[in-house]
Symmetry: C2
Amino acid sequence: MKVYSGLAGIPVVKSSISYIDGEKGILEYRGIPIQELVENSEFLEVAYLLVFGKLPTVNEYKKFVSDVKEHLQIDSSIISLLEKLPLNTHPMKVLQSVVPVFSAFEDAEDVLDEKHHYNALVRMLGHVPTVLAFWKRISNKEDVIPPDGSLSYGENFLYMMRGEKPSKEEGDIFDKCLILHAEHTINASTFTAIVVVSTLADFYSAVSSAVGSLSGRLHGGANERVFYMLSEIKNIEDIPSIIEEKLKKKERIMGFGHRIYKTYDPRAKILKDMLKKLSTKKENNLYRIAEIFEREALKRLGSKGIHPNIDFYSGILYNMLGIPVQFYTPVFAMARIAGWTAHCKEYLKENKLFRPTQIYDGGHNIHYIPAEKRK
Amino acid sequence: MKVYSGLAGIPVVKSSISYIDGEKGILEYRGIPIQELVENSEFLEVAYLLVFGKLPTVNEYKKFVSDVKEHLQIDSSIISLLEKLPLNTHPMKVLQSVVPVFSAFEDAEDVLDEKHHYNALVRMLGHVPTVLAFWKRISNKEDVIPPDGSLSYGENFLYMMRGEKPSKEEGDIFDKCLILHAEHTINASTFTAIVVVSTLADFYSAVSSAVGSLSGRLHGGANERVFYMLSEIKNIEDIPSIIEEKLKKKERIMGFGHRIYKTYDPRAKILKDMLKKLSTKKENNLYRIAEIFEREALKRLGSKGIHPNIDFYSGILYNMLGIPVQFYTPVFAMARIAGWTAHCKEYLKENKLFRPTQIYDGGHNIHYIPAEKRK
């Protein structure tokens, strides 16, 4: 018997939620190419599509958006919780901590009840932006900005976070960024969600655990590190030598390369185009640096199939939209609620409790030694 | 390619923490039979053994106990958090919610730093009993009872929970019960913990997620259901017909049978002996019912290799010790912190990010349809 280390390549589910062709640079949600969704849809519609497996009718969508927007309001007890948290609590920990508490407001407690799936989805999609924006402001000792349901989902988040209303273009770009992060097949956090739900724990427990998983630096958080890497560059002329140095030391270049994509990450391409558009209106030094960094890195890596990935651009975009760096991974989590919920719902259709095993390599029948005889 | 449904029988780790022989009814922690540990050791020593792989020397143990006891005190911000939680929040959700916040007090934030392993362990072993006992009292609108470090670990928990000091015997029995629940190889919650830690998320995120996993009714919570099943029995004479009825309907008899143990669960045997002793001093109707229930169930199931498991007795024991039924699974979690932490620490020695895969069974190249044309 051998250990299936990290379960690399082991299929744990049959799934029809999303599909990646890494050779051709294709990403589809429910069979629809990501480009079509970014062009025509919006995040809440994509969330509906991912979870319920079809695009909503006009009436279904009206109800869905209205239910999500109703949940932008959070109970005063949750606001009090946020006010009591130690000010240095990382926003990912805040999110992991607050989501299980949502269960106290849930009518449909049974995880096999489809009502629970719907309720948990609209509650999380509604509450999470508010929790994150409130935490940004509370932890900075600023007054919180109550949600404004007359704004779009993306606009409202930027408004609550920054305290000033974004332009329609900023809201749209942010919304598209959420679409790009909403789902990406099985990875550590999505896997965590389905392992947890397989015990018949509820969706709040599953999503909270997925947030915990995403908080690890091998999973979420790469866009944060891209931001720091680019921020440290003082002179544009230094970029080639900085890259050469990293390659010589065999350091990974943050935001480049992807386990699955062997060509340009389709999400990165979309982000890059949006950034280019935004940067014509908004001067941003980081973007200028990123452009040159990309060109220089591609000269050296492009032929090896190493291209910029989604994390290379998302941090810069968030920076341009006024989102603080600690919130880059939480915003990723906010979008991925859609994918996590979709996988939980799908998994429960033919639920099977996860119970892998171990290869024991310790001793047997060892005896207890009294304390004074131990070394 | 086939789906490894629930990963049944798939080894995901090499491990030297615990070993089960289900045919012979053997359970060992670090090679030491569970019976020897229950007889000679105590829970905190067993936690040390599980996590660090050896029994502590006199000085190591003195420091360890003192560090855990110091952490019985929780920061006032955590008490305030508990006071703000909706009163109907289930204690498992409270635990999942509070553990990530512990990270705000952690000096050694890097999960690869061995200091983090020690700190997180003593902090969780110290804080969790206090959080649970405080939550029991806050949610019942009772005054909290501050921890008393002069009591043993088990005694102090019962004291904080009940408000009156337990007898030494009660404290000892509870402590042994914690030993029995401290570890049990790979199962859904332990697996959740290592999946989360494999992303290099910290131990607080990993343990919080494991708590989420344990909260599912296919995993933890069986002892709660045994309690309800036995509580519903009004007349002892009805027991045989109640059992016959369940067998006829092919219902599972809660607290009987175990996936791994094909003989008497060694932990159940130990619990049963302790209960017998305790019941000579403390009249308990539930215990009387359980005794007869076991005898009648064994008559019908014993020959099929179906015996009482640990959950059959632990609920009754907790009931005799004055622990409310909603806290049975949380107390299980409190003990399992040892096992979860041990597995996280062991897994990081040769960490490999969990990245299983899926078999895609959806469509391709489907087009986006405008809202008004959808059905």
